[in-house]
């Protein structure tokens, strides 16, 4: 599903964010991306949805080399990739349902699709009773569930999550991880960058560790350290 071949990303000032990264992630896998701050986790994720382009190497998503995509095709790539933010990035003036619907509206889906898919996804994330609430009326965990619902409402093949539990307490984090597990069970590939060792240790999924832009560990059913 995701394949990187000798990928190197260098930012201005010769800052090497990723160096010679080669990795292969299969369909339906759940992968933790771990490593200290500045190790290249966020850059890794940003390269997958073409927010960044590598200086060297090739990146394949669903068998397609995304390095050669013209700019007008990038939005169509992103429709297959859900994105969950650490700080949720919910629209404060929209309700829960409107926040989720917004992701469908933005890709031109009609009202009938929105009416069918939004309630279903809110049921999945356990927020069907709070569809008309505004984000400021929700707890952090609930806001993150809205963010996940928005990322998954279009049923993407891949879900990228950048520190999704970074702002949450441990109990709430467990709930979010259960939700990501459920999504993964539907066949969606989940790639999650995290600093949370207890979550990684408890889930025993594949762990890819980055250090100064290089893959230093790739372990099936791994632990944080």
């Amino acid at each position: 599903m995701i394949k990187m071949e000798k990928v190197t990303k260098v930012f201005k000032g010769d800052v090497v964010a990723l160096r010679d990264v080669t990795i292969d992630i299969g369909k339906g896998e759940f992968v933790f991306l771990v490593g200290p701050s500045g190790s290249g986790k966020s850059t890794f994720i940003r390269l997958l949805n073409r927010e960044e382009v590598p200086e060297h190497g090739r990146i394949f998503v669903a068998g397609r080399d995304i390095g050669g995509l013209s700019s007008w095709r990038v939005p169509y790539l992103r429709r297959n990739i859900g994105y969950v933010f650490q700080d949720y990035k919910l629209l404060q003036k929209k309700t829960v349902a409107e926040n989720v619907a917004f992701a469908l509206e933005a890709i031109g889906k009609g009202p009938h699709v929105i009416k069918r898919q939004v309630p279903a996804i809110l049921e999945l994330v356990g927020l069907s009773r709070k569809v008309d609430r505004f984000p400021y009326e929700l707890s952090g965990g609930e806001q993150q569930r809205v963010s996940i619902a928005r990322a998954f409402v279009n049923r993407p093949m891949i879900l990228l999550a950048d520190e999704p539990t970074g702002n949450l307490d441990p109990t709430t984090s467990v709930g979010i991880m259960r939700l990501l597990e459920r999504i993964n069970e539907t066949g969606t590939t989940v790639l999650m960058a995290t600093h949370d060792s207890s979550i990684v240790d408890s889930m025993r999924q594949r762990v890819v560790e980055l250090d100064r832009g290089m893959v230093v560990r790739d372990q099936a059913r791994g632990v944080y350290e």
Binding site: N49, E51, S71, W72, V74, P75, Y76, L77, R78, R79, N80, Y83, K89, L91, F102, A103, E105, A106, I107, G108, G110, R150, A151, N154
Partner: protein
């Protein structure tokens, strides 16, 4: 795929969120375009009032309405043979009558009492030397000739009006260009604020796969609406200028010089069309620059 309702809703919300800034932009665009439109209307009015005296024409030989062909030929011979005449143009009775109708189109009571047969043909004469004394002496040679009704001279007043019009027109033109540039920048800034206010929405739209056009069009439309509302302000101003200022000149008793100082419907339409095109141009340039500068791909 576009949702028309979505685009309209987003455009409306953007305008509502920045209402005061949007109103300021509309007023600035409107005032700029009103100045530009005013400049054009003023030029048209002056052109209308001095049409007979353009291209160096310094005097006009008016013939009698019932002038015969022999008398007419005599005047032509005299014009051709006079060393002081550089050029001349004959305006026949029909053309003269058309001019008369255009002149008094807003005064049907005048049109009703005059027929084509009563309107005289005339000769517009360009002298070699435009010196007023020389022109007067040359024009006087035609007075009293068979078939000639009278001779009229451009005189200093006409030339002063034309000079004043040229200078005032230049000032208005430069002023309106500066203001139009300011309008473009104001639209750009208004949209930059709108884009800044919606930074999170734009980021989400990009990441869920919204196309570049889908993200940009509501902002472009917002700029276009501001431009069109500005054009509406300017067109209203044009109508007021025509009906309550320019027409007052032409109606003023005793101001014979300004009798033709008017803007007809065709000229008004052309000016309004130009104002509309410029408004759209200003809006498109301003909003394109705003989205190009402030929305990343």
């Amino acid at each position: 795929m576009f949702s028309f309702r979505y685009v309209l809703r987003e455009t409306g919300q953007n305008l509502w969120r920045n209402l005061l800034l949007a109103v300021a932009t509309v007023i600035t665009v409107g005032v700029s375009l009103a100045m530009f439109g005013g400049f054009l209307l003023f030029q048209r009015a002056v052109d209308s009032a001095t049409a007979r005296w353009e291209d160096g024409v310094e005097f006009i030989v008016w013939m009698n309405a019932d002038v015969g062909s022999v008398e007419d030929a005599g005047i032509r011979n005299q014009l051709d043979e006079s060393p002081g005449v550089l050029d001349w143009q004959y305006v026949d009775r029909l053309a003269s009558y058309e001019e008369f109708r255009a002149f008094f189109e807003d005064t049907p009571e005048v049109l009703d009492i005059a027929t084509e047969q009563e309107i005289p043909p005339y000769y517009r004469v360009v002298p070699v030397d435009p010196d007023p004394d020389v022109v007067e002496e040359l024009g006087d040679q035609f007075k009293g000739r068979p078939g000639v009704r009278t001779v009229t001279f451009a005189g200093d007043v006409i030339r002063d009006v034309q000079n004043l019009s040229d200078r005032a027109g230049r000032v208005l033109f430069i002023g309106s260009i500066v203001l139009l540039a300011a309008s473009t920048l104001l639209i750009l800034n208004t949209l930059a604020v709108a884009i800044g206010n919606r930074r999170t929405e734009i980021e989400i739209m990009r990441l869920v796969g919204a196309t570049k056009a889908f993200i940009r069009i509501p902002f472009m439309l917002e700029g276009l609406v501001q431009g069109l509302l500005g054009a509406a302000v300017a067109m209203t101003s044009n109508a007021l200028l025509r009906n309550y200022v320019i027409d007052q000149f032409s109606d003023a008793d005793g101001l014979r010089l300004l009798a033709g100082f008017k803007v007809d419907d065709a000229a008004m339409f052309q000016v309004n069309l130009l104002v509309l095109v410029i408004a759209v141009g200003v809006a498109v340039v301003g909003s394109y620059l705003a989205v190009a500068m402030h929305i990343n791909d």
